[in-house]
């Protein structure tokens, strides 16, 4: 089993999870790197993405696990260059290795929300948001099979920091639970919109920055 890390940004953020799978499989074929195929009626390449990324969110830390076909001898360290030569803009592989940590050790995701107010950041926004996120409970509505459910997301994030990056932008960094259960960082944006409706930003951009294991070390 090999693991590669890649980024997804620019126009590529609009590519859905399933389409990204197809895109990567095609890129492997273009690069002339043979993937191991599953057995069965319609054989398909064995390739999996660790954490499905919602459409519209950019990421500097995506992970794909895959196995090479029998007889495929490409050295892992050559895979990034070979793939990058045939990937569309916005998808870039940074490294590839065979000693990746087990996925069950993936614990945290560091994310960045850029909150944008077209008319400028409201005066009390920084403190109000900081206070909200520091409160004991933070209820949001999550959509489940049985309709909306109230969920307290407070135990699922930590290390919030807020920085004003432009007259119209606040940068919110937060470390979210990556597994059991996962917290989509956009739910923090949803919480702000729900509990501070007067401060609802005009637009929120989201980006995945880094994956961490339970020991707070980079997950790789």
């Amino acid at each position: 089993m090999l693991r590669m890390r890649f980024s997804k940004e620019g126009n590529a953020v609009w590519i859905s999870h399933l389409d990204l799978m197809r895109l990567l499989m095609r890129a492997f074929r273009r690069a002339g790197i043979a993937l191991k195929h599953s057995q069965g009626f319609t054989p398909h390449p064995e390739l999996s993405l660790a954490m499905p990324l919602s459409v519209g969110i950019s990421s500097a830390c995506e992970i794909a696990d895959f196995s090479l076909a029998e007889g495929e001898t490409v050295p892992p360290e050559q895979i990034p260059d070979r793939l990058n030569a045939v990937l569309p803009e916005g998808v870039r592989v940074s490294d590839c290795y065979d000693d990746g940590q087990k996925l069950k050790y993936l614990a945290w995701l560091e994310a960045e929300l850029t909150l944008i107010w077209d008319g400028g950041v409201p005066e009390n926004a920084e403190t109000a948001i900081a206070d909200l996120l520091a409160s004991e409970r933070l209820l949001v509505e999550k959509h489940s099979k049985n309709g909306p459910v109230e969920t307290d997301i407070r135990p699922m994030y930590r290390d919030v920091s807020l920085t004003r990056t432009a007259g119209t932008e606040l940068c919110l960094r937060v470390t979210c639970a990556a597994q059991n259960p996962t917290l989509n960082p956009m739910l923090i944006d949803a919480a702000i919109r729900r509990h501070l409706p007067a401060l609802a930003p005009d637009f929120t951009r989201c980006r995945r920055l880094r994956l961490l294991n339970a020991g707070n070390e980079p997950f790789r």
């Binding site: 609009w14 590519i15 499989m25 095609r26 890129a27 195929h37 009626f41 054989p43 569309p88």
Partner: protein
């Protein structure tokens, strides 16, 4: 990238379905340095990204135009309704996918029009772009709007909207048109002077150079050429397909499209002569690509795209002379790489049965037949030369080889059709079911027989171009007659929407009086009419009423064989007297053997230059 547009796009895209189709950036798209570009082309396809990106013609011409130094051709598709609404709400103009620059900033705005029910999408796109809808409102050389594609064999319903039409195959004429435009721009020509120049290019039809006069009863009286325009404009063809441009570095869509595979065109033209089929007549003469060229193109396109499937396309791929040697070589190459090879439009003959088994090496493709009619008499009348025996024999081979589903396509409302012919469909389906019972290798899995009927739409330049269409009510009566005679649970029956096909018939044989109807329907909100989610018959009926146009004039009336036809200015190579002869033979249920059994004398070989012959 256009930052002003991108900032607005970022806000819109999270709220629309399948946003990847609105941003471009796919592998193998063409991006040029604007400093080296003097002519910008926004190549429009009046349907969704998924449909347009599956269109081989568009892919070819994208390559043709981008092969020209100094010319940058970009793609534009029709946004789905949610995206159109969002664009209007946010004041976002229609933009091209590669640069995200607004379409209104482009020099040339060509459209590829292949389907009548996409006409309102043309208006949606021009309107979203902020480009005036009517040719007469667009002054000067900026935003020259023209069209090509199958629908331009009768361009009259679109005559008000386009500056000119490019008829037939565009590989060569498009280059000439773009060069003519560049020269006009350089020399500061007026639009009128440019149109006069561009009309000198063979295959270019400028509708404003023709006056259509009508009789008091509404029929056409005459078509009068003005400004010394030729009486007939002959479509263009490529003489040598081996030398023609073919995109071997195809754009790889980053989201799923309709034909998500390499589409290799093995030949153009068709030897069969089905009397209802416009493509069968208008793509003549028959010209093959050599197997050597095709093998090279297949390898290059598959290696460049990473696609896992390739299809050998043409109107009748079984008739490609070198199919056996090509598929032998290609199958070996594909099997080694786990690439699926599919050959659509196979005929139900011995050779095809062998091929079918061979092709299932990687994965089984579906089994599909288009007998079009239920009885041999009617199949003879429409010249669809497939026999029941062939179909049943092929089903036998397939069912014993493990296939357990079959698709069958028919038409209802064909000229001379009776209830006996309709019931003949049910009988044929029943016999296929019996064949499965007798020969299936694995009966436990059951069988699916999918039957679909289309509502016959008479098209220009076919043996049936003069025939009336039956009413939607009569079509539905025949649909129910068939439905009530399909008994098994294994049979699934789908039929085309009667009203959609009626409107398609109006537009297919429409004249210039239809342009205001299209516009009125569009102003009432008609859009994406080819999609049942959107098609709204009432809007079209209201538009026809508003414009005082009677739809029966174009459908149930039929056209007299001595009548001046709106498309008489266009010459597709096949002669009118040949079509008339085909019509007469149809009424005698007399077949015309395929062109390889002797040239039927359609006239299309006249399009070939000296020394070249039709490969029928």
């Amino acid at each position: 990238m256009n930052e002003a547009i991108d900032r607005r796009l970022e806000r819109i895209l999270p709220g629309v379905q399948k946003p990847a189709r609105y941003v471009g950036g796919e592998y193998n798209q063409t991006v040029k340095d604007l400093a080296e570009v003097d002519t910008r082309i926004a190549f429009c396809f009046p349907d969704t990204y998924e449909i347009g990106m599956s269109n081989v013609g568009m892919r070819i011409l994208y390559e043709v135009m981008n092969n020209m130094p100094g010319v940058w051709c970009e793609r534009v598709f029709t946004p789905w309704g949610d995206m159109e609404d969002a664009m209007r709400q946010h004041g976002l103009p229609l933009y091209a996918l590669e640069s995200h620059d607004p379409v209104r900033d482009f020099d040339l705005i060509p459209f590829s029009v292949g389907y009548e029910m996409s006409y309102t999408n043309i208006l949606t796109m021009l309107d979203l772009a902020g480009v005036p809808l009517h040719a007469s409102e667009r002054k000067g050389l900026h935003n020259i709007v023209f069209a090509g594609g199958a629908c331009t064999y009768n361009p009259e319903p679109l005559a008000d909207f386009f500056d000119f039409f490019s008829l037939g195959e565009g590989e060569e004429s498009t280059v000439e048109i773009v060069d003519c435009y560049r020269a006009a721009k350089k020399n500061g020509l007026s639009k009128e002077a440019f149109l006069l120049e561009v009309s000198k290019i063979p295959g270019v039809y400028v509708p404003s150079f023709y006056e259509h006069r009508y009789l008091p009863d509404g029929r056409l009286e005459s078509i009068v050429p003005l400004h010394g325009a030729p009486e007939k404009v002959t479509k263009r063809i490529v003489q040598d397909l081996d030398a023609a441009v073919f995109p071997t570095k195809p754009i790889v869509a980053s989201t799923e499209i309709v034909h998500d595979r390499v589409n290799l065109e093995v030949m153009r033209g068709c030897i069969r002569g089905c009397r209802f089929c416009q493509a069968g007549y208008t793509y003549r003469p028959v010209r093959p690509r050599s197997p050597q060229t095709l093998m090279r193109q297949a390898r290059e396109a598959l290696e460049s795209s990473g696609d896992q499937e390739i299809t050998l396309s043409s109107l009748s791929t079984s008739d490609y002379r070198y199919l056996a040697s090509l598929t032998d070589e290609l199958t070996d190459w594909c099997v080694a790489r786990k690439i699926g090879l599919s050959v659509p439009s196979l005929r139900a003959d011995n050779f095809s049965r062998d091929l079918m088994l061979k092709l299932s090496a990687v994965r089984k493709s579906g089994l599909t037949f288009a007998p079009e009619a239920g009885t041999q008499r009617l199949r003879d009348a429409i010249n669809k030369n497939v026999t029941e025996e062939d179909i049943l024999k092929t089903c036998e081979v397939a069912f014993s080889g493990g296939w357990n589903s079959v698709k069958l396509y028919f038409m209802l409302g064909l000229p001379t059709e009776t209830d006996e012919d309709v019931l003949g469909i049910a009988e044929l389906v029943f016999k296929i079911l019996q064949t499965w019972k007798a020969f299936a290798s694995n009966k436990k899995r059951g069988v699916r027989i999918h039957v679909a009927t289309a509502f016959f739409v008479p098209k220009p330049f076919t043996g049936f171009q003069w025939e009336p269409q039956i009413t939607p009510e009569e079509y539905m009566r025949r649909v129910h007659l068939l439905k009530n005679n399909l008994f098994s649970k294994s049979i699934e029956y789908d039929y085309h929407d009667s009203r959609l096909s009626e409107m398609e018939a109006v537009l297919a044989r429409g004249d210039r009086r239809l342009a205001p109807v299209i516009e009125a329907a569009w102003r009432r909100g008609a859009k994406l009419d080819g999609w049942l989610e959107y098609f709204d018959y009432d809007k079209w009926i209201a538009a026809l009423d508003e414009c005082g146009v009677e739809r029966s004039f174009y459908t149930t009336r039929g056209f007299g064989t001595d009548e001046v036809l709106p498309w008489d200015t266009i010459d597709p190579g096949v002669r009118k007297d040949f079509l008339l002869r085909e019509r007469e033979r149809a009424f005698r249920s007399e077949i015309t053997p395929d062109c390889r059994h002797g040239c039927a004398g359609c006239g299309a070989n006249g399009l070939l230059t000296e020394g070249r012959v039709c490969d029928a």
